[in-house]
Every structure is written in structure tokens, then in C-alpha cells.
């Protein structure tokens, strides 16, 4: 079973994603912010992270830099599921993928639960 850390600041969306990903067979652990997510990641050692970039206080990008600074977490795949459109990254999109280990980028307003579950399943299967 894939151990998935869901980082989502909106409580209502978090609950919907939690149910959909649990139904897809993941063990989902939820954190609303970056600081808590680091603590949770330390405890559960996730196989995969689904991350919103717009968080309160510390952004998702700050979380990614913090995460990748630990040797144990350098290879944990991250799927971004965000209200920030990927076009806003322009040239730094490659950095997200190559340096920060982002395996997929979903623009939240136009991605469905099906899309999210498919992206998670793709990563989970590739790790088997």
C-alpha cells in the first residue's frame, strides 16, 4: 500500500482528496501546512507526496527545498496539485522537475479526482 502524504491547506478539498485517494488504495496522511508536513514526513516516511504550493506561512516551494535537504527524502516523488498554473514557472519548470523531484504537475482547477488518482497510480506502479 502506497503511503501518501497529502499537503492541502483547504480543509474541504483535503477531505475530498483524502477519500478519493484512500478509495484508490493509498494510506493517506494529511497535513495542512509545510511545517507540520515536515514533522509528519519524519514520522511516517511517505512513499509519495501530493503538494499544494500556496500554503500559509511557508510555501510549497520552501517545503520542497527543506524536504530535499535531507538525504532520506531526496528521492521521494512529489506530485504538485496546485491552484498556481504551471505556466507561471516559465524557465524554472525544469528546476522543479530535475532539481526538486516533481514527477507531475496538476493545475487544480482543471484536474479532476480521476486525474489525481491516475497520476498517483502511475507513480505508485513505477515504484513497484
Amino acid at each position: 500500500m502506497t503511503k501518501l502524504l497529502l499537503i492541502e491547506p483547504d480543509r474541504m478539498l483535503a477531505s475530498i482528496y483524502f477519500d478519493a485517494l484512500s478509495a484508490a488504495g493509498c494510506e493517506v496522511i494529511y497535513a495542512a501546512g509545510a511545517q507540520l508536513a515536515i514533522l509528519v514526513a519524519d514520522q511516517i516516511q511517505p512513499d509519495l507526496i501530493v503538494l499544494e504550493l500556496q500554503l500559509i506561512e511557508h510555501s510549497g516551494i520552501e517545503f520542497l527545498y527543506e524536504l530535499r535537504s535531507y538525504a532520506d527524502w531526496q528521492k521521494v516523488p512529489v506530485i504538485i496539485n496546485s491552484v498556481v498554473p504551471p505556466r507561471e514557472f516559465n524557465n524554472s519548470y525544469k528546476l522543479l522537475k530535475k532539481e526538486l523531484g516533481v514527477v507531475d504537475y496538476l493545475y487544480k482547477p482543471s484536474s479532476t479526482l480521476k486525474t489525481l488518482v491516475a497520476a498517483v497510480n502511475k507513480v505508485s506502479l513505477s515504484k513497484v
Binding site: 491547506p9 474541504m12 482528496y17 500556496q54 506561512e57 498556481v84
Partner: protein, 239 residues
């Protein structure tokens, strides 16, 4: 076009931008709730959808009110307003939205402060916008308890009415910076809201049109955002 009209146009466009950004959230919530019901075969949670849509409609209505009041201050009828009753009505308006987010909404209206001279509809709209923004943000802040207080107290400047939490998330300088950033940043109040914080800026615009200000405030050991309503000396004499 006069300078004043141009300024209002720019202001309303800035505000429209943050409102449009904010409205993505309830639409996403409704769309995903519908999809969830379809995928799981479970009954659609219509109460949740209704309350989410209602809250989005209130934000739109309050945005329109803010712009209309700014354009035509003559619409702004002043009346004797009891701040306690405005806070009571605000709590009623926000109750189901707070429930969706698991947030307890307390009311602290102890103390008799007498009426103030204000526009009741405008004041209530500002407090509802502000409250909705803080309800949405609170679960993401990492506070000990999901509890907000609608409260009033007397200060040396007048009667303070606002929304408070047990955690300090915003300073006056951060609020001022947020106002400036609202046009260029998709998250202008980074310590307070994970979205555009439209409810706060809409409240700000309504209060500005009423010659009031949105400011940071403390109530007992709670921190929050509030407005200060100057006491009317004449009303004090009458009541």
C-alpha cells in the same frame, strides 16, 4: 472621466481580480464534491454544496456592495446601529460555513456600549466577508483550536467590532503590505490566507466607503482583525 472615477475603476478592478481568484475555491469544492459522489456512488452532499455556493454568492454580493458604495457614497444611509446585534446577525450568516470547516464560532457581546452611527447593512457585509475569510484560513494556520470569536469591546477610539483567533497571524504592517500586494500577488496575505484573501479586501473596501478602517486588534488574549466605530456623542446623550 474624472480622476475620482478613474481611481474607483482601478480599485474595483483590483478587487475583482482577488475576488475572481478566490471564487475558484468554491467552484473547485462543488465540482469535486459532485465528482466524488459520482465516483463513489454515494448520495451527493447537497447541504454542503448549498452552503458553499451561498458563501460564494455572499462574497460576490459584498464585492458589489463595496464597489457601489465607493462609487455612490450617497447610498450610504446612516442609522443607529447596535454593534452587538450586527455581530449576532453576522454569526447567524456564517454559522453553516463555519460548520463546513469544523470551526466553532463564539460570540462575545458582553457589555453595553450603546448605539453607533453607521450603515448596518454595510457593517454586517464587511464582518461577514472578514469572518468567511478567517473561517476558511483557520484550519490551515496550525492553531491549537479551531475557534473564532466575533467580539466587541470599547477602546479609547470607539467601539471595536471584529473577528478573533487564539493565534497572531497578521500584523498591521502585513495587512498594509497585503493591500499593496493584492494586485501583483496571488497570495498577498501569506501568513493569514492560502488564497487571495478576497474576503478581507472586500471587507476593507466596504469599510473604506463608510469612512472606517480595517485594522489588527486584540480582544482579551485573542488576536484578530476589526474595525473601530466612533461613538456618536449625540447618540450617547439620547440613549
Amino acid at each position: 472621466m474624472g480622476t475620482q472615477e478613474q481611481t474607483f475603476q482601478i480599485l474595483s478592478q483590483e478587487l475583482l481580480l482577488v475576488v475572481a481568484e478566490e471564487l475558484k475555491l468554491p467552484f473547485m469544492q462543488i465540482a469535486r464534491l459532485a465528482e466524488q459522489a459520482e465516483l463513489s456512488g454515494q448520495k451527493l452532499n447537497t447541504a454542503l454544496i448549498e452552503s458553499t455556493a451561498d458563501s460564494a454568492l455572499k462574497l460576490i454580493d459584498n464585492y458589489i456592495l463595496g464597489v457601489r458604495l465607493s462609487l455612490s457614497p450617497e447610498r450610504l444611509g446612516l442609522e443607529n446601529v447596535s454593534v452587538s446585534s450586527v455581530l449576532y446577525d453576522t454569526r447567524e450568516e456564517l454559522y453553516s460555513y463555519a460548520k463546513n470547516y469544523g470551526v466553532d464560532l463564539d460570540l462575545n457581546i458582553a457589555g453595553k456600549y450603546g448605539p453607533v452611527s453607521a450603515n448596518k447593512k454595510g457593517l454586517e457585509a464587511a464582518l461577514v466577508s472578514l469572518g468567511a475569510a478567517l473561517i476558511e484560513a483557520l484550519p490551515a494556520i496550525g492553531t491549537c483550536q479551531l475557534r473564532l470569536k466575533l467580539a466587541t469591546h470599547r477602546s479609547r477610539y470607539g467601539i471595536v467590532a471584529g473577528v478573533y483567533a487564539d493565534t497572531k497571524q497578521v500584523s498591521l504592517s502585513a495587512l498594509q503590505a497585503g493591500r499593496k500586494l493584492s494586485i501583483s500577488s496571488r497570495q498577498p496575505l501569506v501568513n493569514l490566507s492560502h488564497s487571495s484573501g478576497a474576503g478581507i479586501f472586500v471587507a476593507d473596501s466596504i469599510l473604506k466607503a463608510m469612512n472606517l478602517n480595517l485594522t489588527v486588534s486584540r480582544h482579551d488574549k485573542w488576536y484578530g482583525i476589526a474595525t473601530i466605530l466612533p461613538l456618536s456623542q449625540q447618540l450617547q446623550l439620547i440613549t
